[in-house]
Amino acid sequence: MTAIVDTLMEQGALGVWTALEYAPASYSKTEELIALARAAERHGGIYASHMRDEGQHIDEALNEVFRIAKEAQIPAEVSHLKLSDVAAGDRCPRVLAKIDSARAAGLDVTADQYPYIRAATSLDASIPTWAESGGWDSLLIRLRDPATRARLHREIVNPQTESFFVAAGGGTGVLITGTFQDSLR
């Protein structure tokens, strides 16, 4: 994969961006990301991250970005920095202070943000990413299996990692904006 980064950087890419909260990037290890970031750095690129978690584990997620920036010696950008979970609030100043501290320690880390309080993504983002292992067909097979479906239901209601569904306060905070099938419109 580092060879792919080399090629794409030579073709004009600006850097490497990872969507760690979504499958399949959620299965990656930090060491793999450092290797890709090093490849981007060799060409003067940047590492940008949709972090693994923007909720209760945001500190660990930020620490991972900092580690990649440090070990790959690369500028790093936190994509659409947010604090998810409508029930909690006013934590952004603390997170900004954490980024400031990393910068004061010498890391070239910045963040961007969109200026509204809702997140546009897909409905399946409500489902833990392990259920997508093997591809989209595997997710559908798991949802048709009563035992796996029950397990997924339990994990959505009592999440161990950030859950879009719970962060939105449940079904009242999840708005359907587009369906593929005409019959579902």
Binding site: L81, V86, A167, V174, I176, T179
Partner: protein, 120 residues
């Protein structure tokens, strides 16, 4: 279903909300459903709006952060794909002047990826 919340759709079918999510994902038959999640809150977004890195922008922080009562931005699936509009930054945070909002959304972002001749 478009324009309805998962809770509203679940109520129409007398169904649990999580089961409704599963039902919709299965009914799409391998295609994704777009959804907008209300997961953030205003004070956090405003704090981020007003955050600055360094340099001359820093003075805007000291102007204070009076909370604006005007929150005119509505969630829309198009928000992700239309060109960024700096005005919401100013609407939400009176501490952010329009010219700084334009800089944040154009040249500051461009500089970050070593594009020195873009934005204003």
């Amino acid at each position: 279903m478009q324009g309805k919340t998962v809770a509203q759709i679940a109520a129409m079918h007398h169904r649990d909300t999580v089961e409704t999510v599963f039902d919709i994902v299965l009914a799409e038959g391998g295609h994704r459903t777009d959804a907008v999640y209300a997961i953030m809150n205003e004070p956090d977004v405003q704090a981020g709006n007003e955050a600055v890195v360094d340099g001359r922008e820093h003075r805007f922080r000291r102007r204070g952060a009076r909370r604006s009562a005007r929150h005119t931005v509505r969630a829309s699936p198009r928000l992700r794909i239309v060109p960024a509009d700096p005005r919401p930054l100013c609407t939400r945070s009176e501490a952010v002047p329009l010219e700084f909002a334009v800089r944040k959304m154009t040249s500051l972002a461009a500089q970050r990826v070593n594009l020195s001749d873009r934005g204003s």
